[in-house]
């Protein structure tokens, strides 16, 4: 039935997944004048062979497969809001509008670049003045306006105290001049 080998053990039949099957099938097909198809059978053999020992894909092919998967996922999955185009466009426009509003409304003088006062020196050359800000005097005047009312009340109080002292002194003088009586009182 089967040929023995050198050790006297019977020769093993070709396994199902052996390439011998493919060779034998192709040879039979040729012998019959290429009639019939063996592709389906070979496909099953390839599938079984791959299931037994998966063949590694080439690097480029693997990248292409993953790229296809990513593209499919990206196309099908909804984008988060922070990755949407309108979020970026709208956000940028809103930030620009807010910055402009701050500059125009909150800091009304922001558009005016303060320039240091300059004065002509003795040699006629323009020299920057010492940073004597014009706002310094205005700020001091405002502080005075805040402090003045309280100070005036205190001055009035002190004048009243002096008036009281003066009155007491005059009364004492009158008493002394009147011999210890005032207005006929004993």
């Amino acid at each position: 039935m089967s040929a023995g080998n050198e050790n006297g053990r019977p020769a093993r039949k070709p396994k199902v997944l052996s390439e011998d099957w493919e060779v034998a099938l192709r040879a039979g097909q040729e012998a019959e004048g290429l009639a019939g198809s063996v592709e389906d059978e070979l496909a099953v053999v390839h599938l079984l062979r791959h299931a037994r020992a998966p063949e590694g894909l080439a690097e480029a092919r693997l990248d292409a497969v993953w790229a296809d998967i990513d593209a499919e996922l990206e196309a099908s999955a909804p984008r988060p809001w922070w990755r949407r185009r309108w979020t970026w466009i709208g956000g940028t426009a809103f930030a620009a509008a807010a910055a402009a509003a701050v500059l125009v409304i909150v800091i009304p003088n922001a558009g005016q670049t303060p320039s240091p006062p300059v004065a002509a020196g003795d040699d006629g050359e323009q020299q920057p003045q010492v940073a004597v800000a014009a706002g310094q005097a205005a700020a001091l005047e405002r502080q005075f306006q805040i402090l003045a009312p309280g100070a005036r009340r205190r001055v009035e109080q002190e004048v009243d105290d002096d008036r009281g002292q003066l009155r007491e002194r005059l009364i004492a003088q009158a008493r002394a001049a009147g011999g210890g009586s005032m207005g006929g009182a004993p």
């Binding site: 005097a137 001091l140 100070a151 002096d162």
Partner: protein
């Protein structure tokens, strides 16, 4: 008996300490020797300030300046005679005058060096000894403005810094609820 004398000793110490603190608190302020001078001055200035108010309401700046200029001619009590309050009253009047002069330079125009003379005359020699108050601070600040107009920037800065320091002290006192 021993216990009683200890209580007396502690009481004496407390009273002495209290008197010392009161004395220190009043150290910065000089009481007037002549209260009648202060009373008379305050009455005069009260009337004059009201007159200036009316003139300014009528937009008669020239009249207001003239009224305040006239006050320069009177004899002002010294610090010994009128105490600190007399000096504060003087600084208030000179401050008001100088403010009008600086704000309306075209009315009865005076050169800057004359304005500096007004400021120095108002402050006097004893301004530094005076307890910190807003009137002296304002007049000092306006002296800085005049010095700035005279291109004496370093002196102007000194005056501004002095005024700012006074106001800083006053504002701190206000915030701490003290008596500026």
């Amino acid at each position: 008996m021993k216990h009683r004398s200890l209580v007396s000793l502690v009481g004496g110490i407390l009273i002495g300490a209290l008197a010392m603190f009161v004395g220190l608190a009043q150290a910065g302020k000089l009481a007037p020797e002549q209260p009648e001078a202060v009373v008379a001055l305050a009455q005069l200035l009260d009337a004059e300030h009201r007159r200036v108010d009316v003139l300014l309401e009528k937009e008669d700046v020239a009249g207001a300046i003239a009224a305040l200029e006239a006050l320069r001619e009177q004899r002002w009590p010294t610090r010994e005679e009128g105490g600190d309050v007399a000096l504060q009253l003087r600084h208030d009047v000179y401050g008001r005058l100088l403010r009008l002069r600086l704000d309306y330079p075209d009315i009865d125009a005076r050169p800057a060096d004359e304005l500096l003379q007004i400021a120095d005359e108002g402050l006097g020699e004893d301004a530094a000894e005076l307890d910190v108050n807003p009137f002296t601070a304002r007049l000092t600040a306006m002296r800085g403005e005049v010095l700035e107009a005279l291109d004496r920037d370093d002196d102007a800065l000194t005056s501004y810094e002095q005024a700012l320091e006074m106001n800083r002290v006053l504002l701190e006192r206000e915030l701490s609820g003290g008596n500026p």
